[in-house]
């Protein structure tokens, strides 16, 4: 215990500032709400939440550029580990915290309009911030215990948020399915952790790795690892644990869909990256289970399931949900291409860079859907017909999101997909590369359908938009600008991603 207190020196615990900022603003929201529970001033609540998350995002950025989380021998301020190595703050955790915080900022800003006519706004923002606290904590987790707890901290508010529209059947159904599959998956995850503990007697990642290196019961460990894979797959909406995703994303309020499909997915991946690289390094855990091969199978299946199912959807939001599954498949390449001899920083960095870019473009796309829901134009592709005649700016931003998602060089998605492709090439996993290419080609088709509806199809009679919500517009346009700027500015992203990936 004294040791623990010693580590809590000032310089080290400030490393957790972004996470703390998120959590504290959640508490602040509760405070605001309890002071004036009846008013539900949307601007105030969203302002507090937004400022909190923005502060978190800015702090992470300052930390990243300031060299926090980078070992001193590489010119940084050193990696911070806290609470007996249970929590570690390195570049990777900062990188993912940045993704989460910036997505949350966008979502919160957008929600201020989206929630205009809803009650329980304070609870909504609190839950969003609590979930994001969990996610950013997940990015720093260095023990299976912390991982499980922060995973649950991220999940439990999410269940409630998905079912937030209590009188909307879709929302409730989505919440139910999300919750049930989530509960099942977390049980599988927990059981997997217990088996790993059974095999190694440790929960802290490095200790697990050390224990495995000293020789363990491979069967128990293998089953345990596979079950942990299941838990990760659930969180990242990867096959075969993706079944909740289409419904949850479709039924949830669109900002929440954006939040879940971007931030939550990123959190799931950071967990996976850290667990598998730190606790189960290929060279020691390979004897029990070749998890690289597992992820290869999952990646390919996920890409195909997500993209092919997306190709024939009628509703834009559901299409985006499936595309989100497909993108999980792409990011899985970051793990699946970690074959022997390959430069880990490049492969993993590719996955991380894609997640960051994806965070903006996917959030933007879902927020555009939120905008459409706000306008009440309907959910199908046909309902989007001719939107560009009324809202060219938002539609232009949406076009950037979609084409960037497809991998056209109009946004950062082009480079991040390319780095993933290069990862497959460098690791010799041709099949993954081929799947990436085939699915990218296919994805272009269904993304283009939205673009077509917005710009090319004639608007339905009487399509008239008279309200241009500032918050939603700000969020969408900001996401669009960032997505575009990530094309010329990709250097920064890939730089941090590769450097962070090399540290794990």
């Amino acid at each position: 215990m004294t040791q623990l207190a010693l580590q809590m020196t000032q310089s080290s615990w400030t490393a957790l500032a972004p996470t703390l900022l998120l959590g504290l603003s959640a508490l602040a929201l509760l405070l605001v709400d309890s002071i004036s529970p009846e008013e539900s001033d949307s601007t105030l609540l969203a302002g507090v939440a937004g400022l909190g998350s923005l502060a978190a995002a800015v702090t992470t950025m300052v930390f990243l550029f300031g060299g926090r989380g980078l070992p001193t021998e590489q010119g940084g301020q050193g990696i911070v580990s806290l609470f007996g190595d249970q929590i570690v703050v390195d570049q990777m955790s900062l990188f993912f915290t940045f993704i989460v915080a910036s997505v949350v900022t966008l979502v919160v800003v957008a929600s201020s309009d989206y929630l205009r006519d809803h009650r329980y706004k304070a609870e909504y923002y609190t839950l969003v911030l609590l979930a994001s606290t969990g996610m950013s904590l997940l990015a720093s987790a260095n023990s299976l215990a912390i991982a499980f707890i922060s995973l649950e901290l991220a999940s439990l508010p999410s269940f409630a948020l998905v079912a937030f529209l209590k009188s909307n059947k879709g929302s409730v159904e989505a919440g139910l399915k999300y919750f049930l599959i989530g509960a099942l998956s977390s049980a599988v995850f927990a059981y997997g952790i217990s088996l790993v503990y059974a095999a190694t007697g440790a929960l802290q990642f490095d200790a697990v790795a050390t224990a495995i290196g000293e020789g363990v019961q491979t069967g128990v460990l293998g089953i345990g690892i596979l079950m942990i894979v299941g838990g990760v797959a659930y969180k990242t909406a990867s096959s075969p644990f993706h079944f909740w995703a289409p419904e949850a994303y479709e039924g949830a309020p669109a900002p929440i869909s954006a939040f879940l499909s971007s931030a939550s997915k990123a959190a799931g991946f950071v967990l996976a990256f850290r667990v598998f690289l730190t606790a189960f390094p290929v060279d020691v855990a390979g004897a029990a289970i070749d998890w690289v091969l597992v992820f290869q199978v999952l990646a390919i299946v996920t890409m195909f399931v997500g993209n092919f199912a997306a190709a024939t959807q009628e509703k834009v939001k559901r299409m985006l949900a499936y595309s989100s599954i497909g993108h999980a498949g792409y990011v899985l390449i970051g793990l699946a291409a970690l074959t022997g001899g390959v430069d880990q920083s490049q492969v993993l960095g590719a996955g991380m860079a894609h997640l960051l870019v994806y965070g903006f473009m996917n959030t933007g796309a879902f927020l555009f859907v939120a905008l459409a829901e706000y306008w009440g134009v309907g959910r199908t592709f046909e309902d989007y017909n001719g939107l560009a005649t009324q809202a060219p700016l938002a539609c232009a931003a949406m076009t950037v999101f979609l084409f960037s998602l497809a991998g056209l060089p109009i946004g950062g998605g082009f480079f991040s997909k390319f780095t993933l492709l290069m990862a497959t090439v460098n690791s010799g996993t041709w099949l993954l590369g081929a799947a990436l290419i085939i699915n990218s080609a296919l994805s272009l088709f269904y993304y283009t359908r939205v673009v077509k509806a917005m710009w090319i199809e004639d608007p339905a009679d009487g399509l008239e938009l008279d309200d241009y919500p500032v918050g939603l517009y700000t969020a969408v346009v900001a996401a669009g600008v960032v997505t575009f700027l990530l094309l010329p500015g990709f250097d920064v992203v890939i730089g941090f991603a590769e450097s962070a990936a090399s540290l794990v």
């Binding site: 069967g219 289409p246 419904e247 195909f304 997306a310």
Partner: protein, 680 residues
């Protein structure tokens, strides 16, 4: 005397200026730009005469003027001027006829109140420019370029009356058929460049010179498909011949020419009689040094020529329209020139080219005069008795007809006789296949002399003799000086131009009368003289002369035979048609009449080739493209979407199923990786 050559480019440039002037300013000028054209062609004529005088002084000119495309590591493409006696003669002919046609057009077009005159005169100007440039082109690529431009002008002028249905169709046909020939020509041109690295006609670095050296083993050339040089040169020569056959309307590419009569008559005179059609034959003459190296090519040229001469003559026999008869006679006469070239009668060919240009231009202009008089009715059966009402036209037309029929002493007699004479002696003298072929060609050429005499005078009698058969013919439209003047000039020339080269008379009298021989035999550029060609023909191609009756005897016998046949033809026409009320005799031909009326079904099969073979093939290709090629493309997308449709069914909507699927997948993974990892 380099002075004339300095101005040589202006010979072609002047008409080009008149083209521009007529096209852009014609509307604002009196006579719709005609005067510019007349001035320009008159200028060209004067310059040509000056050039001819200079050439007569023994000077020649072979100069590259403009580098079209430079070659850095390869050959370059240039434009230049080559002037030797042949060129000078042709320049004179072309500019003279162009000038006369411009004048005639004043009567035929302006006085008839045609619209679109600037376009017309622009076309004439462009045509004259292209033809003159073609004539003094110094290399084969330049020749091809202007050959093509001549084709364009022909298209524009045939289709002059574009508001009617037939002229555009005829224009299309003319361009297309000649293009078909030009395709082979272009392959030949490309082949010549690839083989020799040059396309120059004359000079030490010219392709005929290199070819000769290659045959003598003095030079290396690139041949293709492993052929020996002789065979490859024959192939190249025949490819170029494709263009010749198209432009000079030789069988089987002659079908466009009769249709081309849809154009205004002065155009027919200029293009389809005297100059453009001459371009083909002129090209063979121009590069005769190359053809002279290949007996096979010569034999084919002669055979094509002889056959075309006879073939076209027989069709001319049954035609009812004035210009149609002339059209077929044109084809036939160019057959003679080809025959002469194939038979080694270079001078004879050029001679016939010259005389034919005069009398055929005359005949067309005369026909134009008749057409003016007949208010644009061309059917000879509606005419009759015009000789009293339009004497100038009649007498000049008669002069041209006598020349065409080959009646002594009109121009055509001398030249045609020499053609046949050359074919005969070389046919008898040459060994092997060449001799046989030449004799066969000679026989066909001889036979067609009879038909020529017949159809020519059938035409004359039906048009001018007898009694007028229609009201129009009784009261024909008068023609002005601008019609009569060109007719008069050409009428005199048609009667007298043959005196240039009276070989039989020379042999008979011993007086030197073969001026054209002298003209072509000597010159500054040795390799393009008829003497050189004679040597080449003899040494390389094996063309040898043989006089079964001695030189004088053979000459006279040949002349007598051809004159006799011509007279027989004329006589037959006289007996059948020189009556007051002539009737059709074509029925006597029986089923042959149908065949002849349909031109041996030449058009039918060519149309069938286009619409019965090519077009269905294109439709089939289109179907294939839409169905199969595009079908595959659309199929890929359909299959993907179908796969997507299946894939989404996995998501049944029932949460218990999801749990089952997750569990199953997990178990499968466990089992699979358990087996791999050896846990069990």
């Amino acid at each position: 005397m380099a002075g004339a050559f300095t101005y040589a480019p202006a010979i072609a440039a002047l008409p080009f200026v008149s083209f521009l002037v007529a096209l852009f300013l014609g509307d604002r000028m009196p006579k719709g730009g005609a005067l510019a054209g007349i001035a320009a062609t008159a200028g060209s004529l004067l310059l040509s005469a000056w050039v001819a005088l200079t050439v007569a002084g023994g000077a020649t000119y072979n100069q590259t003027l403009y580098t079209f495309i430079e070659g850095i590591d390869t050959f370059e493409l240039t434009l230049g001027i080559l002037i030797d006696p042949l060129t000078a003669l042709m320049l004179l002919i072309v500019s003279l006829i162009a000038f006369l046609v411009h004048v005639f057009s004043l009567g035929y077009m302006n006085d008839e109140g045609e619209t679109g005159l600037p376009r017309y005169y622009a076309g004439l100007g462009l045509f004259t420019f292209s033809m003159l440039s073609f004539v003094y082109a110094s290399n084969i690529l330049m020749a091809f370029m202007f050959f093509e431009l001549v084709g364009l002008c022909s298209f524009l002028l045939i289709g002059f009356w574009f508001r009617e249905a037939a002229p555009p169709s005829a224009a299309k046909k003319a361009f297309l058929v000649t293009r078909f020939g030009d395709y082979f020509f272009l392959v030949g041109v490309v082949g010549i460049f690839a083989t020799f690295g040059t396309g120059a006609f004359a000079g030490a670095e010219s392709f005929p010179a290199i070819a000769e050296q290659a045959l003598n083993g003095e030079a290396e050339v690139t041949t293709f498909f492993g052929m020996d040089p002789q065979t490859w040169f024959t192939v190249l020569g025949l490819l170029v011949l494709g263009g010749v056959m198209g432009k000079s309307a030789q069988f089987p590419l002659h079908t466009w020419l009769p249709d081309a009569m849809e154009g205004p008559t002065p155009v027919s005179a200029l293009i389809h009689a005297a100059t453009m059609v001459a371009a083909g034959v002129y090209l063979v003459a121009r590069m005769y040094g190359f053809y002279a190296l290949s007996p096979t090519a010569l034999a084919i040229i002669a055979l094509v020529g002889g056959f075309t001469a006879l073939f076209a003559a027989t069709m001319g026999v049954v035609k009812q329209e004035l210009k149609q008869v002339l059209a077929y006679s044109t084809i036939s006469q160019y057959g003679y020139m080809m025959l002469a070239l194939g038979a080694g009668g270079y001078v004879a060919a050029v001679f016939h080219l010259t005389t034919h240009a005069m009398f055929k231009a005359l005949l067309f202009l005369g026909a134009g005069s008749v057409i003016i008089a007949m208010h644009h009715n061309e059917n000879m059966w509606d005419m009759g008795g015009l000789k009293d009402r339009m004497p100038v036209t009649y007498w000049t037309f008669l002069s041209g007809s006598l020349a065409l029929a080959g009646i002594v002493p009109f121009a055509g007699f001398w030249s045609k006789d020499e053609v046949l004479f050359e074919a005969l002696i070389h046919g008898l003298g040459s060994d092997g296949g060449l001799g046989t072929v030449l004799l066969a060609a000679y026989a066909m050429g001889l036979l067609s002399v009879f038909f020529t005499g017949f159809y020519t005078f059938r035409m004359v009698f039906l048009t001018f003799h007898g009694k007028p058969r229609t009201e129009t013919a009784r009261k024909p439209h008068g023609v002005g000086w601008n019609v009569k003047f060109p007719l008069a000039v050409l009428g005199v020339l048609a009667a007298t131009i043959g005196f240039l080269n009276m070989v039989p008379l020379e042999k008979l009298t011993g007086i030197h009368l073969s001026f054209l021989h002298d003209w072509l035999a000597h010159g500054g550029i040795e390799m393009t003289t008829s003497e050189t060609y004679g040597t080449l023909l003899h040494d390389v191609a094996g063309v040898t002369a043989h006089y079964p009756l001695g030189e004088l005897g053979t000459t006279l016998a040949s002349a007598a035979v051809s004159l006799g046949l011509a007279l027989a033809g004329v006589g037959t026409a006289w007996s059948l048609y020189n009556v007051d009320e002539p009737t059709e005799h074509t029925d006597k031909l029986g089923s042959l009449k149908t065949v002849l009326m349909h031109n041996y079904y030449q058009d039918e099969y060519q149309v069938w080739l286009a619409t019965g073979v090519t077009y269905p093939l294109a439709r089939a290709a289109d179907k294939f493209d839409q169905g199969v090629v595009d079908g595959v493309v659309n199929g890929v997308s359909s299959v993907s979407l179908f796969g997507g449709g299946r894939m989404r069914r996995l998501q049944s909507g029932v949460v218990s199923n999801y749990a089952t699927l997750i569990t199953t997948a997990l178990v499968v993974l466990l089992v699979a990786f358990g087996l791999i990892g050896g846990w069990f």
